[in-house]
Amino acid sequence: MAVDRADGRTPNQRRPVACTRGILHRAHGSASWAQGDTKVIAAVYGPKAGTRKNENPEKACIEVIWKPKTGQSGKPEREYEMVLKKTLQSICLLNVHPNTTTSIVIQVVNDDGALLPCAINAACAALVDAGIPLKHLAVAICCCMAEGGHILLDPSKIEEQKVKAFVYLVFPNSMVSVLPQGSLRLGGELMEHGIITSVTHGMMAVDDYFSCLKLGRAAAAELSDLLRSSLKLKAGNDPSKAG
């Protein structure tokens, strides 16, 4: 049964993604990520000497600053910063540069739904642009539960406000392995099926949550192929950045 979405997409169709890296000159790494009309710019500075007061000096520290489009930074921005920090901490190799701080600054350009996944994707691309050592990439996607029990992928702001629940999911990117035994498995499950982050808003049944996970995983696998091809393309003609 076809569900009518306002912009004519099918329930499983995400919005077109536009990703550009290296857009800023002063920042060590930068990226802009746009999913439909939602656009976020991320910049990375690092690693800088010293960690902040209560952080562990034996590991690298990740600092996230979230700048909203208008107005003062308030509680929602603090929450986004915390989620982003924990997500990025799990993908960065923290032991390579101990006692350093890597700052990631996120600037919201336009919010048309799925803002946090867009920011996570932008931050990941900016980290790659800066050359910060990562274990793997984080691919973020948003799924929501619409009225009739359908699951919609990548909702716009109007859709996000109308549904009763939505979830932001972050998965590791799909692995392409040269080893004969194929992808890395952890306890019998594929590595890329693990969930890095899941943030839900609203109430949904457990079965619905699992269906969202399944849809999210498939979408993340497709998105990570797109990421792989777009990151490879830029790497070939990358001039060195001075200061």
Binding site: D7, G8, R9, Q13, R15, P16, L24, H25, R26, A27, S30, D37, K39, I41, A43, Y45, K48, A49, G50, I65, K67, K69, T70, G71, S103, V105, Q107, V109, N110, D112
Partner: protein, 300 residues
């Protein structure tokens, strides 16, 4: 504090001497002549009132929003205009998040003075009910990339965003006391009334021999002895001049700078106007497409 100083631009003596010596032969490090501007490009976002300006390596975004508020007691018939400047930490490693530093406040004040005191934006047309309800226009300027000359770029971003901003149309309710704000789908939002465009032009004074350059890069800013910003419009009015400290400069040099600034202001004004015009044409084309029932195909 040490962290911030450690992160700011450190220039070697050789680099400083090179910039100063090259300027004695009218050469600048990036190949420009002393009175050439860098390439200015103005683009707009999806929503009305959002602009992005790139001046060489400097990048600034401007967002304009409006809200209905109570007016000030001493000005019951006028709307208000407020400018908020954010020196984002992504623009420069020495910019800190949190409280704005003195250069951020100075920049905000220069842009504010140019717009407010020259009465560029008509505030009386922002009044809905005298003494009760007026439009408060808020301009947020985000500095994304610091390549030097943030004042000029921020000013252009503010002007471009104001020129494309549209506020919802509102009418009075039955008893004449309540205000009904119409959503953009119901009634076409209205643009602001802007009388003129005050354009800021910044000059840097480098070295001792009265060397003046226009639109300094951030390397030149680190070397300069003083700077002056002149805000002018194409009607020949000087809206504001800011020369805060720094090296003393001859009066004849100041007059020459003002003459050059009026020429540059004309160039920049025409660039802003043509960018705004193409945005408006594109916007009206988009509106026509919206009413057309489009087939189920989303452009990829």
């Amino acid at each position: 504090m040490e962290q911030r100083l450690a992160n700011s631009l450190i220039m070697t003596v050789n680099e400083k001497k090179f910039i100063e010596t090259a300027l004695l032969s009218d050469l600048r490090v990036d190949g420009r002549r002393p009175f050439d501007y860098r390439k200015l490009s103005i683009s707009f976002g999806r929503e009305d009132g959002s602009s992005e300006v790139q001046l060489g390596n400097t990048r600034v975004m401007g967002f304009v929003t409006g809200q209905l508020v109570q007016p000030y007691r001493d000005r019951p018939n006028e709307g208000t205009l407020a400018i908020y400047t954010e020196f984002s930490p992504m623009a420069d490693p020495s910019f800190e998040a949190g409280r704005p530093g003195e250069s951020a406040i100075e920049l905000g004040r220069i842009v504010d003075r140019g717009l407010r005191e020259s009465r560029a934006v008509d505030t009386e047309s922002l009044c809905v009910i005298s003494g009760k309800s007026v439009w408060a226009i808020r301009i947020d300027l985000h500095i994304i990339d610091n390549g030097g000359n943030l004042v000029d770029a921020s000013n252009v971003a503010a002007l471009a965003a104001l020129s494309t901003f549209r506020r919802p149309e509102c009418t009075l309710g039955e008893n004449g006391q309540e205000v009904i704000v119409h959503p953009p789908e119901a009634r076409e939002p209205l643009p602001l009334i802007i009388h003129h465009l005050p354009v800021a032009v910044t000059f840097a004074f480098i070295g001792k021999e009265n060397v003046v350059v226009i639109d300094p890069t951030h390397h030149e800013e680190a070397v300069m002895g003083g700077s002056m910003t002149a805000t002018l419009n194409t009607n020949g009015d000087v809206c504001a001049i800011q020369k805060a400290g720094g090296e003393g400069v001859l009066q004849s040099v100041i007059m020459q700078c003002l003459r050059i600034a009026s020429v540059k202001a004309g160039d920049i004004t025409s660039k802003i106007k043509s960018a705004v015009e193409s945005y408006n044409t594109e916007r009206s084309l988009r509106k026509i497409k919206r009413h057309n029932p489009s087939p189920a195909g989303y452009k990829h």
